[in-house]
Amino acid sequence: MAAKEIVDGSNSIDEGSDRDPCPICLGTILEESYLDTCFHKFCFKCIKQWIKVVSSKVSKQLSSVKCPLCKTENLSIIHNYDGHSFDRHYISRNITDGFVLTKEQRYRLQCYYTEPGFLADVFDVPRFWKLKRFLQPNRSLEAWLRRELQALMQDENVDIVLHHLVGVTDSFCKRIEQRHKQEAISAETIQEQFKSVVSEAARPFVMARTDRFVDELELFLASGLNMEAYDAVYKQRLRLNNPKVIGAGNEAREEEEAENRRNRATPYLFIFDEDSD
């Protein structure tokens, strides 16, 4: 009785919208998300719920989940995509309910929502290339890259990608240094090559944000600052541009305090404490 009434009543409403329904709730997909290997689509909530059920049945933490449709093992759910960026929910983090960005990492992500060339007037990027400053080792680079990758990939463990990128930049610099002894290369060419080499290395991991990531990396290198000083400049600019952030004065101060505490607590931020210049 109840079934018939309700079903008939809703017939006309969702007849058309259910052409590609979520396999779990059979309704229109809400918060569309898909599994990273087989690309099957589900409501974000539905698939998360299912993963919770699956993980409650095993004693150890799940690292992957079988697609309910095709049984392919998947490591993460991709969701919140808008053509430029997306979020990634790793199955292994399901129980603790996810990787939580630290304030520092959140601030870095925020930087990616600013216009490109955000700090172009503060740091002289062309001069960095002209003076071949990239040939000098930058001791803050690794720590900066680590945090950047953690924020972008939303993953604590970025060691492999980090070493990959550091290796690629190192070998690039060495190559340029050697070539430079034989022939003159213009600063623009070096800059261009550097960016394409790093893009290529980073793209599989930071994907849609690759170009901006390379710009940010270049900016950081060009600044010649260590991480703390660089952050100070960046944050100041962020606040000037975003009154909402200053608006909450207390919050901003609290944030800063929390940051200081974290800096003290996070050893790797300390390694490069002295001025890198």
């Binding site: 079934a3 809703s10 329904p21 779990i24 059979l26």
Partner: protein
């Protein structure tokens, strides 16, 4: 509550639409309780169940589709993976291999497939399983056909 109900309504709708498409399965929802369903399935051809119509009872649990429905045969059937007295079915997808992408309709299809392809190595009906395991296909077939005739065929007159 809400999720399982909403999903069952969707299935109900789908069943109404698919009725013509799959003449081997007739799924009916209880008039007063959407969590209770019955199904009539036709015995697959070229099996000892051919010509029989078997009734299944579904009890859908609250967390459905995160948990599988409970299904049993109401019609007596001689099959290695069906308990002869209770009608309980031994089928992986109704236990640990369950996926929320299954529907009541597709579960019926899986049961029809199980009827055509028994798994004598995980028997609920040992007599039936032993016949198959010892290679006595003929003996198995005649027993199964006898019970199909007795229990699953409409009596004439």
């Amino acid at each position: 509550m809400q999720t399982s109900r909403a999903r069952l309504f969707k299935e109900y709708k789908e069943v109404q639409r698919e009725k013509v498409a799959d003449p081997d399965i007739q799924l009916v929802c209880d008039d007063t309780n959407i969590f209770k369903w019955t199904a009539l399935i036709k015995g697959p051809s070229e099996t000892p169940y051919e010509g029989g119509v078997f009734q299944l009872a579904f009890a859908v649990p609250e967390p459905y589709p995160l948990q599988p429905p409970q299904v049993r045969f109401l019609t007596k059937i001689f099959h290695p993976n069906v308990h002869f007295k209770t009608g309980e079915i031994c089928l992986d997808i109704l236990k640990n291999a369950w996926s929320p992408a299954w529907t009541l309709q597709s579960v019926c299809r899986a049961i029809i497939a199980l009827m055509a392809h028994p798994e004598p190595d995980s028997p609920l009906n040992c007599d039936s399983g032993n016949l198959l395991r010892s290679g006595d296909v003929r003996g198995f077939n005649s027993m199964a056909r006898m019970y199909t005739r007795l229990a699953a065929m409409p009596k004439k007159g």
